[in-house]
């Protein structure tokens, strides 16, 4: 009988797909979604990931302009979607605009491996449609208060990875960080929770590893 080597990649699965993985970054207004993007971009580029970015804003291209100006990534790899009134429609009920933008990036950049999609700032109930993304992060921050996980918002409960950002601010806003993490783990029933300080990049390596392990499969 054929002895199948567990590490051998069988013929039918050898090639990679021609379209990139899509990862959503959602969360309340000002929690640090763009700051996290700005920390993720150089790390993915450093590990050799072929990357593009889509940002969502209500009526401007503010976040896209900020990422383009940062010089972290070629400006043509950053697209802006203007969502109009309701930021969550564009990632949940009717994600067509974002899907078209992602398709566009797939076409323009053959070999593209990863598209990061930042949603417009919203509330705790926002979530991504799995028609749009393969995996999604929800970014909350300690300055929003340590009771946020306890409030069991849909975003906090159902995201694939919860990121608690601005850990550096805990002492200034009288937040009990260990308790916040404990309660986040409780409501998420074992789904991952990671801590970051996106002002200086603490904890971001672990976010990169998590995304790579869950959707890139390149190592």
């Amino acid at each position: 009988m054929n002895d199948i080597n567990a590490n051998a990649i069988p013929a039918a699965s050898r090639e990679r797909p021609s379209t990139a993985a899509r990862v959503g970054i959602g969360g309340p207004v000002g929690s640090g979604k763009t700051a996290l993007l700005e920390q993720l971009i150089p790390r993915f580029l450093a590990r050799g990931t072929d990357l593009a970015v889509i940002t969502n804003d209500i009526a401007t291209k503010e976040d896209a302009e900020r990422v383009r100006r940062s010089g972290l990534i070629a400006p043509e790899r950053v697209l802006a979607v203007e969502t109009g009134a309701c930021p969550h429609s564009a990632i949940r009920e009717d994600p067509t605009l974002n899907m078209q933008s992602a398709d566009d990036l797939d076409r323009r950049f053959p070999g593209l491996e990863l598209i990061l999609i930042e949603s417009g700032g919203d509330n705790l109930a926002s979530s991504f449609s799995l028609d749009l993304v393969d995996y999604w992060l929800f970014v909350i921050d300690v300055a929003g208060g340590d009771d946020i996980p306890r409030k069991r918002g849909l975003g906090v409960l159902s995201c694939d990875l919860l990121v608690i950002n601005k850990t550096d601010l805990a002492p200034y806003v009288r937040v009990d960080l260990p308790r916040m993490v404990r309660e986040a783990n409780e409501v998420r029933k074992g789904k991952p929770v990671l801590l970051t300080n996106c002002a200086i990049g603490d904890g971001v390596d672990a976010v990169v590893e998590q995304i790579a392990r869950e959707v890139l499969f390149d190592r």
Binding site: S13, E15, S18, R22, R92, D134, Y135, L154
Partner: protein, 149 residues
């Protein structure tokens, strides 16, 4: 980790069905258990029922579904097995309660199915989470949960 980059076919296709049937005897057919929600994903890190670690990475044009064959080797296959969808059956007290319930479920983005006098909510997470959200409607008597005492 095993990368699975294609849907090779469907377990119901006659030729594949025959091959799978033979493998059930002479080799192994591993099941990749997925929820209905997860089948929308094109990338997925998971384990089969035999503990094989897999990375599913499909083109956007491909679709995971119950019976999708992702690997076919001389002695092994991997087939998607959809976990049965589970439904929470709710009975509104009257028309006003029905309107309120429908509006509420829509607001929650829940997937529903209309079943005559009942509304069925697709459970894509723990049942208790749904009951918690509906607690105010149960408490004021607007709705009752069918199958609960």
């Amino acid at each position: 980790m095993l990368r699975l980059t294609r849907v090779l076919g469907h377990a119901t296709e006659p030729q594949l069905a025959e091959t799978l049937h033979r493998l059930e005897h002479g080799g192994t057919v591993e099941r990749l258990k997925l929820s209905r929600a997860d089948t929308a994903r094109k990338r997925l890190h998971a384990f089969t029922d035999r503990g094989t670690e897999v990375g599913v990475m499909l083109d956007r044009s491909e679709q995971l579904s119950n019976g999708a064959v992702l690997l076919l080797e001389p002695t092994r296959a991997i087939v998607v097995a959809l976990e049965e969808p589970q439904w929470l059956a709710l009975a509104p007290r009257d028309a006003a309660a029905a309107l309120e319930l429908g509006y509420f479920c829509g607001n929650m983005h829940w997937k529903v199915r209309f079943a005559g006098e009942y509304l069925h909510v697709s459970l894509e997470g723990p049942r208790e989470t749904y009951l918690e959200r509906l607690a105010h409607l149960v408490a004021n008597g607007s709705i009752s949960v069918i199958g609960d005492d």
